[in-house]
Symmetry: C2
Subunit: 419 residues, 2 copies
């Protein structure tokens, strides 16, 4: 069962407005119609403003959902935690200011798991409300898929952008580490937390990221370059569901038929060693980032997070420093991945969205790439045996975000033509 594809294209809306065929207010009203119709089922929002009014700039008329780990001066910001119920920040997070400055309208705050970690919120998958939308950026991904807003902001510390994008059948873009500021975000792990984007398509995500940052990130639709893909074969591949393995094979065939080279990439040893470095880095930092909440308000934490922080507080600085060294070695070794390819092609998640609302799924295919800080883009368009979306991620070297977006855009187009 697949819901009608309702995601709205930010680029198309901007073009309609620029061409005088639609007003910015009409574009926002169109979002409001979808929200009023489906929000009671999807539950993507923690807060909605009473009215959506357009700004001025290249994103005028573009409604953007903001994951509720980002501060907003005019909307309550709860970080997915009972501790912050009715919390009113003084200032917007930097990325919220960047969006407003470009003319975007904040569509509302979107559901996050508790402190963007594990304990899920109420959001449902628009393709089937019995399934998780993924997390931790649950409301941002689901809201784009449901047509509530053409773009949304999320964060990824493990797999919190790429996985929900895949589960909801939309594009997800996790930029290179620290390309977008985390200022005004409630942080969990300062070496891993990464700000990113959701949109209907890769080009739409790139358009919004470029418009708010002034960076040359926009996808060039006229570019005829055919990417060289590398399939990263690793010991965790046995965790792919059969339909995900089939999807990876299908995408390979489609890419090859369209003229791309697709070759296997053997994992450099330092990268595979680094898989185990993610947890101690994340958890040591979480124990410090949430030290106050853990010390003073343990009863207001979920039992799972409280237990996790109890354990994390015993990670020694030596263990943490060793994990950071391991990650640094892997970052250097990651350059070797691209000697015979432009971008890596991997599953975004083990399979389709699990049929549960008690978990947001598994970030096993994401954590290493978050740790390495490399740009990842989830491409939609393929479906699993149950008819739910399957996502594939494109990964480029650190700092080569435009390359990742361009290659992902190319693959998305070929899948769309062939699927």
């Amino acid at each position: 069962m697949t819901a009608p594809h309702r995601a709205l294209s930010a680029q198309n809306i901007a073009a309609e407005i620029a061409g005088g065929r639609m007003t910015a207010q009409e574009a926002l009203d169109q979002c409001k119609v979808s929200i009023d119709r489906d929000e009671s089922t999807i539950q993507a929002f923690t807060h909605q403003p009473s009215k959506l009014l357009p700004g001025k700039g290249s994103l005028a008329g573009i409604a953007v959902g903001i994951k509720d780990v980002f501060d907003t001066y005019d909307m309550p910001t709860g970080y997915g935690s009972a501790i912050y119920e009715n919390h009113k920040p003084v200032a917007d997070a930097s990325v919220v200011s960047m969006l407003r400055r470009a003319g975007a309208t904040i569509a509302g705050k979107t559901v996050t798991t508790e402190f963007a970690w594990f304990a899920p919120g109420p959001t449902r998958n628009p393709h089937n409300p019995a399934h998780t939308p993924g997390g931790s950026s649950s409301g941002s991904a689901a809201g784009v898929a449901a047509g509530f807003f053409p773009a949304a902001i999320g964060t990824q510390t493990g797999g919190s952008i790429i996985r929900p994008a895949a589960f909801c059948g939309v594009a997800g873009y996790k930029p290179s580490f620290r390309l977008f500021p985390t200022i005004g975000m409630k942080q969990f792990s300062w070496s891993l937390d990464t700000v990113g984007f959701f949109a209907a398509s890769v080009a739409d995500a790139a358009f919004v990221a470029a418009a708010c940052s002034g960076r040359d990130l926009g996808v060039d639709q006229a570019d005829q370059t055919v990417p060289r893909f590398g399939i990263y074969r690793s010991p965790i591949d046995d965790q792919m569901a059969p339909d995900m393995a089939d999807a990876l094979q299908k995408a390979t065939s489609i890419a090859k038929e369209a003229g791309a080279s697709v070759t296997d990439v053997v994992p450099p040893e330092p990268l595979e060693k680094a898989r185990d470095a993610h947890a101690p880095i994340q958890d040591f930092e979480a124990a410090l980032s949430l030290a106050d909440e853990h010390m003073r308000s343990p009863a207001l934490l979920s039992a799972k997070l409280r237990d996790h922080l109890d354990a994390a507080a015993h990670i020694t600085p030596e263990t943490y420093d060793n994990a950071r060294r391991t990650a640094n070695h892997a970052r250097k070794a990651s350059r070797d991945l691209f000697s015979t390819c432009d971008a890596l092609l991997l599953p975004s998640a083990p399979g389709t969205a699990p049929e549960t609302l008690a978990s947001t799924g598994d970030s096993v295919f994401n954590r290493l790439w978050t740790l390495l800080g490399m740009p990842c883009v989830s491409v939609a368009g393929l479906t699993g045996d149950n008819g739910l979306p399957l996502g594939l991620q494109i990964i480029a070297p650190f700092g080569q975000d435009k390359r990742a977006l361009q290659a992902a855009h190319w693959l998305e187009k070929q899948i769309c033509l062939n699927a």
Copy 2:
């Protein structure tokens, strides 16, 4: 004119308490006596709690001043800005939690320049109230020098720990970049902002840093190793005041007489090139970090900061990215500095504290080392022609904080024996 040296030793206090010769409450009461006597002159605090009560742990009885750019749940936090007058954060900054967990008592919030940048607060130098205490961590440095608290927390983005430590004649320790978390600090520049410590002596600063982090940072008093120092000779050396040049020469003689080797180090070209990278990185990031304040509350910013952010908003991502690349090259090249020495020896500032309260002095001797993320320790004990303190800084490779502290402790001891 030199004020009586009133700085309290954190290590001595802890030893007195451990030995049963003083209670933790008595140690805190001793601070309160100094505060009540001299705060009206020094003006180190933005807020003081009504009572100082001891905690439990290795820092029980140790009062710590907290620069007012760090959130505290129980004290107003103003970031040196009119925008945040009466601001009450929900949670403590991570470093505040770390101190409380180790038993420290928060002595109060200390004066910072506006957002830890330029516009000074009212704090005066305890050695001569007509002179600046330095900044931006003005109240933290002055409060240690005045005996208000044996230790304090500050931040350095340009020279905001090392310079005020030098001007106030106390020890300042700027750790390796990101060794201490900036979570819950109002950030100005996320690639530069560094959390650090002030105390009466280098060993005292190391003691507090070790106690709150669980890291092996404490100075080993029994260590007989004699460091090899390198004097970093650079084109900006002509900005040293004559008495600072004399002090550097005097410290060299003292170190040599005590058996240390002191050799000149020729600046690697990538380091000198990187001097100009500090400003675009700091300012591009400040324009994003303070985007909300700049957009919505320009009238509540100082004219100088408003103009600065106006200009900073025009720095392009390309200029910023190039500056980051230049800094990365310099970080790699900085390893070459230590082929013939263990630690560098440089002025902490051009001279003694200027006779003004309208400026906090010049960070010209600090910015490069903040940019490179290397640990810096300011050593007191020498005085200028006007009788005010002069500071020398010891710098070690990134991540070698213990080496920097140990070498600085050694030099401090020799200066104390000879001055």
